[in-house]
């Protein structure tokens, strides 16, 4: 599904990712943990195609298709979703209009039929209930005046509506209480599907804490340190990291 091979990324002339290799198959959830400054957010931005995140070497493909030559909206239309660590407030932009316009832009790019205003209203109301956002919040300008937790719920709302083939979730757990973590688990598990199934989706979850992983049940856990994957293992690796910290990986990197 998402295959990253020997990825090197520089930001402002500084090399942050130094040969990162990772493969997340369809239907799997992989977690990335690592110390601050190890390149976790750089990885998410580079895969999503943000300007000034220069890929100097390596390859990134989604379902076998090279995506590095595509611009951010083309990658989104291919089914790549990024749940932002710090979601934007966009004053003056009506939330429902923005999400519907974005959804229809993706559908149009894929040659699918657009969603009518009435159908969209039904869809967003149903998904908003799942993620715990009220109608009043949907009527506000996008994320304006939202708490940190509400902004993360808004990210999950969009993920539930767009149903991306692959999602990168960058510290979605920060600012969320226990009930909200459970909700994130529900949204991910409802989209995930069965391994080996053609419609199954993949997730790359960037986190510092075990508590979100209790709900997401990752298939693999990777440690990112010094711009590379320093260690990979099963779910037990996350438990081990929470007990012993990253020190030995920083030294190794």
């Amino acid at each position: 599904m998402l295959r990253i091979d020997n990825l090197h990324v520089s930001v402002g002339g500084h090399e942050i990712l130094k040969g990162l290799t990772l493969d997340v198959p369809a239907g799997e959830v992989h977690a990335i943990m690592g110390p601050n400054g190890s390149g976790k957010s750089t990885l998410s931005y580079a895969v999503a195609g943000r300007e000034n995140y220069d890929v100097t070497a390596g390859a990134v493909s989604l379902s076998g298709e090279n995506i590095l030559g595509l611009n951010p909206n083309e990658r989104a239309a291919k089914g790549l979703f990024l749940s932002f660590q710090h979601p934007m407030e966009i004053p003056g932009v009506a939330t429902m209009n923005f999400i519907r316009t974005a959804l229809n832009a993706q559908k149009k790019a894929r040659g699918e039929a657009e969603v009518s205003a009435a159908d969209f209203l039904k869809l967003i109301r149903a998904k908003a209930k799942i993620v715990g956002l009220t109608d009043e919040k949907l009527k506000r300008p996008f994320n304006v005046g939202f708490s940190g937790g509400e902004k993360k719920r808004m990210e999950m709302l969009q993920m539930a509506i767009f149903e991306p083939r692959f999602a990168i979730m960058d510290e979605t757990d920060s600012g969320l209480d226990i009930d909200a973590l459970k909700m994130v688990g529900e949204v991910v598990n409802s989209l995930r599907g069965q391994k080996g199934d053609k419609t199954a989706r993949g997730f790359l979850v960037i986190t510092h804490y075990q508590r979100l992983l209790d709900y997401l049940k990752p298939d693999r856990v990777h440690v990112l340190a010094g711009g590379r994957i320093a260690k990979s293992g099963g779910p037990e690796l996350a438990v081990e990291l929470e007990q012993s910290g990253y020190d030995k990986f920083i030294e190794a990197a």
Binding site: N73, M88, I90, P91, A105, F162
Partner: protein, 407 residues
């Protein structure tokens, strides 16, 4: 005050200024002493009419009988339409129901609050007739009144409008400044709102890129009256839109909102002064300027709060969005306060579109152009909330969308 050398256009005006009555003749002398305002005169630094008109050779505008249909989508509104075509006032018979008097009247010969304003003096000298509208006491006129200022072909023209809303009257007007060709147009709007009256005024300026346009709205707002004005301008070679509000009694309110969308080499100047004389008046002013290419956005807003105007509550904000390195914006908010128990504030910002917001929106699937358009629209949209009439905001939004598509 320095007088710049006379220009060719002024001799054409002098030829027109034969046989004026005493008042107009004095006004023309006042203009001749000063000439067109230039950049060395206070308040005209960024809008130099003298140099914009230096190489023009305008004669009187030709008489046009036929106006093209309104090019603005008013989204199903059914307005009463009045026209001023190349300075000539065209009013249909029986346009209004009882309670509204209107017609072509003599232009006013004095402008007490606009001394030392040479373009206003020139307008008084040159404009012989005015469009007059009076709305009787207590009459609430729900249909919007459209006043179209159309300037076609080359040439200069001058006109005035006089409007009075008697006690408790209410009305909505939509004014458009349109036309094609290099023209000079000066318009002076005298407005009086008597006690408790309310006027909503929406103005759309979309004149030719070669035109030079000057408009003044001078509003006298009496006790408890409301004046709401929203303007949208796409600029011209030089376009200056002035608003002068006088709160002469207590408890009056004004909301003055403006947006400028400027491309090419277009120039728009929103200059205003709100004079607070009565107690407890409230002013809300907001300007949003968007400039791309070599567009120039100018905003000069002044609040004056005189000694008797205690409990004044006045706020002003001017924000500019610059979409290219060659676009320009100059904003000058000013407060002049002589009363001690007032709340007054002003603020001004200037910047580019937020690259982080654009990336976020593109990650959700919007193209770069669509994301930029949505952000620009959001930037100016708040200006249009000022007018209560449903449909007018929509007309503004159509115009913004049209501008965004024309990039």
């Amino acid at each position: 005050m320095t007088r710049a050398a006379p220009i060719a256009f002024e001799s054409a005006l002098a030829a027109r200024a034969q046989n004026l009555n005493a008042v107009r003749s004095m006004a023309f002398e006042a203009f001749k002493r000063q000439g067109f305002p230039h950049r060395r005169i206070e308040g005209w630094r960024w809008s130099d009419f003298h140099s914009a008109l230096r190489d023009t050779a305008f004669g009187p505008a030709p008489i046009h009988e036929i106006a093209p249909p309104l090019a603005i989508d008013l989204a199903g509104l059914k307005p009463v339409e009045l026209r001023i075509v190349n300075g000539r006032i065209d009013v249909p018979a029986d346009a209004f129901p009882k309670g509204i008097q209107y017609g072509v009247v003599d232009a006013v010969g004095t402008i007490p609050d606009l001394e030392n304003h040479s373009i206003a003096a020139l307008n008084v000298a040159m404009a012989k007739k005015a469009l007059g509208i009076e709305i009787a006491e207590g009459v609430e006129f729900a249909q919007p009144i459209v006043i179209r200022h159309i300037n076609t072909g080359a040439g200069f023209s001058f006109a005035q409008s006089l409007m009075r809303l008697c006690d408790g009257a209410r009305a909505t007007i939509i004014e458009t400044f349109e036309g094609e060709g290099a023209a000079f147009y000066s318009h002076l709007f005298h407005l009086v709102l008597k006690d408790g009256a309310r006027l909503d005024r929406a103005v759309i300026h979309e004149t030719d890129g070669n035109a030079v346009v000057h408009s003044i709205c001078a509003a006298k707002v009496e006790g408890g009256a409301h004046f709401n004005q929203a303007s949208l301008s796409t600029g011209a070679r030089l376009a200056r839109h002035e608003t002068h509000v006088h709160f002469v009694a207590a408890g009056a309110k004004a909301a003055i909102a403006s947006a400028a969308l400027l491309s090419g080499e277009r120039h728009s100047d929103f200059t205003s002064e709100v004079l607070h004389l009565g107690e407890g008046c409230e002013t809300r002013q907001r300007h949003k300027g968007v400039a791309r290419d070599r567009g120039r956005n100018i905003f000069q807003g002044k609040f004056r709060v005189m000694r008797g105007a205690q409990k004044t509550d006045a706020r002003m904000n001017a924000d500019a969005l610059l979409l290219s390195d060659t676009a320009e914006s100059n904003c000058k908010p000013e407060l002049e306060i002589y009363a001690d128990d007032v709340q007054c504030a002003h603020g001004s910002t200037s910047g580019a579109l937020d690259a982080a917001a654009i990336f976020y929106m593109r990650q959700r699937g919007l193209s770069e152009e669509a994301a930029r358009a949505m952000l620009i629209e959001a930037f100016v949209a708040s200006v249009f909330d000022v007018i209560a009439h449903p449909g007018i905001a929509q007309a503004f939004h159509h115009r913004v969308a049209k501008w965004l598509e024309s990039a």
